[in-house]
């Protein structure tokens, strides 16, 4: 491996961008394909599949055997609202290897007793994101669960601007219609606003907080694994 390719791979990881190292195992010839370059690559289809699955592996192409070292940033989940659903969600997210952060400025909700072992930030989302919490990016999922527009809206705006792969918001259709109007007023396009999953979660008839948490996590996994990656700007 050329040292510059290794440095390039490490730099992409540090910047939380996906990349694939393509190695011809017969002669060791290699090239690094950055996420933004995949669509134009001759192997775009197979690289895209491996990227979506997040799995390294061998592929055959043009009579050659290639090994794809697939490097995908770890997925982060930011939940806004230290509410009952979030309490049920936290241990499930850990089981799915999702790095969870819970943000809620209401100190009565955001207590370590209610969220043992969870990264908890008792600040307003717009202060927390880019401050104590790393900025959102395309490998982040954001779920807004407070029901309070003062808290949810700034987080949703940050998630849409950062092109988070998943953006979900709790609330009825009526609540969401009001939210759509506010976000349009704030300058977001119908396409951007249309990316918000609302009502949040897969339609499994969830009733209890744990069931709603399950439906939200299932929707996040489905979005991560099934949907094609959004185009890189």
């Amino acid at each position: 491996m050329r040292a510059d390719l290794l440095a390039g791979l490490n730099a992409e990881r540090a910047a939380r961008r996906a990349a694939i190292l393509v190695t011809d195992i017969a002669d060791g010839a290699q090239r690094l394909v950055r996420e933004a370059e995949i669509a134009a690559d001759p192997l775009a289809a197979v690289l895209g599949r491996h990227l979506a699955a997040g799995k390294s592996g061998l592929v055959e192409a043009d009579g050659r055997t290639l090994f794809l070292t697939v490097q995908v940033p770890p997925v982060r989940l930011v939940v806004v609202g230290a509410v009952h659903i979030s309490q049920a969600l936290a241990p499930m997210a850990a089981g799915l290897d999702l790095a969870l952060t819970v943000i809620d400025p209401r100190t009565a909700f955001a207590t370590p007793e209610r969220f043992p072992g969870v990264e908890l930030v008792a600040e307003w989302p717009d202060a927390a994101l880019g401050g104590r919490v790393p900025p959102l990016d395309r490998y982040c999922a954001l779920a807004a669960l407070t029901h309070d527009p003062k808290i949810d809206d700034p987080a949703l705006e940050a998630a849409l601007a950062a092109e988070c792969f998943y953006v979900g918001a709790l609330g009825s259709r009526k609540t969401h219609a009001a939210r759509v109007a506010r976000l349009a007023e704030a300058g977001f396009s119908p396409e951007q606003i249309g990316r918000i999953r609302a009502p949040i979660g897969l339609a499994i008839g969830a009733v209890s907080p744990a069931e709603i948490a399950l439906s939200v996590l299932a929707e996040i996994v489905a979005t991560l694994r099934r949907a094609p990656r959004p185009e890189v700007a």
Binding site: M1, N10, G57
Partner: protein
């Protein structure tokens, strides 16, 4: 603690930057109950210092020996380990799995 595969790649770059001769071993294929998944890395220097694992300990010794040869001659190679290959490699996976490992020098 250096444990994840991405840490191993960072260590490989750091070792190389420090002027050490370095080889990288990567699990490229597994069958059966292989202990480490495809994509797992092991970085080795010319003195046999290593970090990471490709099998959880079963065949590391053989991989390190081969990696030192790769550091010397610069030719990448694919190693295969498994119960069936015990005579060839004098190292095997007691779990009954088989793995293929690609070893390359970092130039």
């Amino acid at each position: 603690m250096l444990s994840t595969d991405t840490d191993i790649l960072a260590a490989a770059e750091s070792w190389r930057h420090d002027g050490r001769a370095v080889a990288l071993a990567t699990v490229i294929e597994t069958w059966g109950s292989a202990p480490r998944p495809v994509g797992s890395h092991l970085v080795v220097d010319a003195e046999g210092n290593f970090l990471g694992s490709v099998s959880g300990g079963c065949v590391e010794g053989a991989v390190i020996t081969e990696a030192i040869t790769v550091i010397e001659d610069g030719a990448p190679r694919v190693l295969e380990f498994g119960v069936a290959d015990e005579t060839a490699w004098q190292a095997g996976l007691s779990c009954g799995g088989r793995i293929r490992v690609f070893v390359e020098r970092v130039d």
